[in-house]
Amino acid sequence: MANIKIPTKKFEKHFKLTNEIKHKIPMLGTPLETYNKNEIELEIFPNRPDMLSYQGFIRAFKSFMDKETGLKKYKINKPEKNFEVKIDSSVKDIRPFTACAIVKNLKFDDEKIKEIIDIQEKLHSTVGRNRKKLAIGIYPLEKIKLPIRYTALPPQEIKFQPLEFPREITGQQILSQHPAGRDYGNLLEGKNKFPVFIDANNEILSMPPIINSHNTGKINENTKEIFIECSGFDFDILSKTLNIIVTTLADMGGDIYQMELNYNSGKGNGINSSSIKGGRDGLLRGTIKGKTTTPNLTPEKIKINLDNIENLLGIKLKEAEVKKLLEKMGYNYSNKTVEIPAYRTDILHEVDIIEDIAIAYGYDNFKPTIPDVATIGQEDPKQTFKNKITEILTGLGFLETYSYTLTKKQDQFEKMNKEPKEIIELVDSKTEYNILKQDLLHTSLRTLSENSDSEYPQKIFEIAPIFMKNDLKETGIQEQENLVISISPSNFTEIKQVLNYLGEMLDLKFELKQKDYTQFIQGRVGEIYLNHKMIGLIGEVCPYVQKNWKIKMPTSSLELNLNALFKEVQN
């Protein structure tokens, strides 16, 4: 989740923050998180990285509010001499693509520099998947000699002074010594070459996706012209992210210039995308061959069927209305064709356009209806059975408990005097609840243990799943619903009476076979059988176990497989 903060003053140049506007903002799909006289905070959903800046949001919101609707035109200038990036084939297995641009006539100040860095970071953490998928570099053009090469070098041959670092170090050292290297070094793990941008003076500009050079990769208030690159694995997403940045800079007053990307340079025949992990020629669109220029702000076009709008949304719209609604969302429409802004990354299908029509129409203008879809309702039969069991037991004065499905090793094994085996463990759980339950008895005893100051007798039960390994299952795990009952204080007779009553009420015959289990007192424990199948245990809880749990009263319990009971009752 990404939020953006906008100075209230800046927003109020366009719209006064009235109650109506406060209501309208979330209706664009940008929830208003907080606001005060200094600042407005908005949530931007992951499908709209183009709104991750003040400029991007205000562009969308003005249009949504019927100011400056339709596809916004941006002037784009052809590449000047040497506005070129040569992509060497050595990057193809490392970080194969880049999309680049130059922006001139910028008037930076502290605030604008902060804004740019902020957009860059937000794009990194969202569409960039923490720089894994995409990383952005911005450089002052006056420090660079064009053209630029994008190539890969052995880490020990890469030497430059990384941003905010006192001296020149090698590519390898950056990973261990520079904070950004430590944070993102894993993205270059196992590569024998690291990607670099190098200018015509053979100066290293940066080592993506880690860090820029301190000398050539740092913008300041005097910077008027910049070089921007996005590097990563999907050319399509790189181009669109570049479009997001350049249009934002254009909205700040900059002039956009294209760059020529030459994917044929170096030895061999350029990049053969079929060999790239994450890209197969012809199959995936996020690849590129030969020469091309970026940024490309030509809108993509998509056909739209007006009937589909009505079918999906349940509202009848005339074509003129559809056109108007689409223009509110920054599109152009003519002749069943929608022109999509080049910075939109989220339009995969006609439905994405239709959702924007719904947003423009206003979610609060839809009148909810209940259709006539004739179907018969039914509770899950096992749920109905569980309700019966609950009814029987609450009739006997039992209190139902509700526990976590996850449990702790100490509770499941140590306190139960049980050997830890067949553990089903979770990866990197943030709490000590890091395994799945093997039985419910220990949870029932935990409840008694935590309630020694409540009035006795305590009669409790719980129905919940337990987990065991089973290779035949799709997940390798079998889940079984169990029933556990505990009475404290009590003895074997009392718990057996409950079992018998349950059997009588369900018309089932349980048999007991004496067998010792360490959780229970020897000779006062047995296996419960139903139809010659072992389905559970019953007994007086072993005093050593009770002591582990600090349970004050003699306790007896039973636990049985509820699935088995259900199966039997259904037959």
């Binding site: 609060d364 309702g377 390798g476 889940e479």
Partner: protein, 504 residues
């Protein structure tokens, strides 16, 4: 008259015993009745409920001896001690008097001042000269007489006693004024009337099986009970289903009443069902260990047809979609997780449907997991209610209609919808309900229409599927006024016994 009779008949044996002695203080009631104080107090409460006595607790001020007061009770007030010394030495130097009198400097000064003030002595050229008569020496002073009368009430005081108090108050810790609570028993007019009634001694206290057998109750009267008096709670012996299941039962009823069929399924799922089948790209942050519980197990994928269709939806898209355009990895889809939403059950249900099953409506209600720490507002387990409606003819407005109906039945009349984003629905919507008491909008869940990239691989055809997953715990904690989410699963037996039933 009848009322008096009923009242007499309602007196318990203990109440009868103390009735004649109500004018007396409690310790005397104890000695006359032979009952202990607790029984008497309780009986007095009952008598008070019956308006036979008025029990009032009054705060009154008691004047008692202070620390020094107690000391002087034995040794006499300092001025008296000095006077006695002077009686033996009618003229004595100040120095000598100070050393002979066993008084502290301060006491000596006070004693001198007091005696001088009363003109019983004279100070001349460093000497004290006795002026008091013999009578004045032996006679008790006002203060002495007053001190002997302590402890006593701080009221109805004589003017000279008031003066004594004023004088003594100026001196250190001779007297103190304490506030004490006092229960007074006042017999009401009704009480006096009852006292004069003849008490029938032959009332039946408890009906016994023996009496029923022998007819021992015939022509006898039962003691009447005060049915308004308090009885102890029996909640500690009550059996009850857990409040979360009471609420869930109601949730199920709403859906089945609307014609929905329940879907169930495992907590442990493959990533395929939990994520891939729902068009969540494999590099989506939710598929990270920081957010989702993974097991150290590789699962199996379902039949090839569905796997291929899902793969195609991700890689190149289906039904005119561009897809996510990356290489979909089977191994990633095999990773086993604890389900992060009940929506995985919807995906499995869709995959099983045949054209003959349509139209269809399903719901689920159950637990989900996320890798999260626990505090008052977070937990690693949470409940959700899920619904899908599969029909060619349903629309976005119908989606809003079902959600509005569900929340209306849950007690939220005002529902608001705003745009949202989920990878598997388009359009997507966020549901907010207005809390009528707190006057705030609560964010309760997400909904939408499944994308063609979800429905086509699972149903074989892009048929519209309305879908929602609504948070359930929020509804529950709000109803039961639970402020800390940990309370849901903490199994505090005392609280569970006292917790109200879900009444809807």
């Amino acid at each position: 008259m009848k009322e008096i009779k009923h009242l007499v008949m309602s007196l318990s044996p203990i109440e009868r015993k103390i009735l004649p002695f109500l004018e007396l203080p409690i310790d005397e009631i104890m000695s006359h009745s032979g009952l202990d104080e607790v029984s008497i107090q309780r009986a007095l409460e009952y008598l008070s409920n019956k308006k036979i006595v008025n029990l009032t607790t009054k705060e009154k001020e008691i004047i008692d001896l202070g620390e020094n007061g107690k000391k002087y009770q034995k040794s006499g007030l300092p001025e008296k001690q000095l006077l006695k010394l002077l009686a033996e030495n009618p003229k004595i130097s100040l120095q000598e008097a100070a050393s002979k009198a066993s008084l502290s400097d301060n006491e000596f000064k006070v004693a001198l001042g007091t005696l001088k003030g009363k003109a019983l002595i004279e100070l001349k050229e460093g000497n004290i000269i006795l002026k008091a008569s013999q009578d004045e020496i032996t006679k008790k002073t006002l203060e002495e007489t007053f001190l002997e009368s302590l402890p006593r009430n701080n009221k109805n005081l004589q003017p000279e006693e008031e003066l004594a108090i004023q004088n003594l108050k100026k001196r250190k810790e001779i007297i103190e004024i304490k506030k004490v609570k006092e229960k007074t028993i006042e017999i009401t007019d009704l009480g006096k009337q009852i006292q004069s009634e003849k008490l029938n001694e032959n009332l039946i206290e408890q009906l016994t099986t023996e009496m029923l057998k022998t007819g021992g109750y015939i022509k006898k009267q039962f003691r009447r009970y005060d049915i308004e008096s308090q009885v102890p709670s029996i909640s500690s012996s009550a059996g009850k289903s857990h409040f979360i299941n009471q609420t869930a039962k109601y949730g199920r009823k709403i859906w089945t009443d609307l014609g929905f069929k329940e879907m169930t399924g495992s907590y442990v799922q493959t990533s395929f069902w939990n994520f891939d089948a729902l068009f969540q790209p494999q590099d989506h942050p939710v598929r990270d260990m920081h957010d989702t519980f993974f097991l150290k197990i590789k699962g199996k994928l379902p039949n090839k047809e569905i796997v291929e269709a899902v793969k195609k939806a991700h890689e190149t898209g289906v039904d005119g979609s561009k897809g996510w355009r990356y290489k979909w990895d089977e191994e990633e889809a095999k990773k086993v997780v604890l389900r992060t939403h009940t929506t995985c059950l919807s995906a499995q249900t869709l995959a099983k449907l045949t054209p003959e099953d349509l139209p269809a409506k399903f719901f689920a209600l159950g637990k989900n997991f996320r890798n999260e720490t626990i505090d008052w507002s977070h937990g690693f387990e949470f409940n959700q209610t899920e619904g899908i409606v599969i029909d060619e003819n349903v629309t976005f407005r119908d989606l809003l209609g079902y959600l509005k109906e569900f929340y209306k039945k849950m007690g939220f009349e005002k529902v608001r919808f705003s745009p949202a984003y989920f990878p598997y629905t388009e359009p997507s919507v966020e549901v907010n309900v207005f809390h009528p008491e707190k006057k705030v909008w609560l964010e309760l869940g997400g909904a939408g229409i499944f994308r063609p990239e979800v429905t086509e691989p699972l149903l074989g055809k892009n048929i519209k599927v309305l879908a929602w997953g609504q948070g359930f715990d929020r509804i529950l904690t709000d109803y039961y006024k639970i402020k800390d989410l940990r309370e849901i699963a903490d199994n505090n037996i005392k609280q569970l016994r006292e917790k109200k039933f879900w009444i809807k």
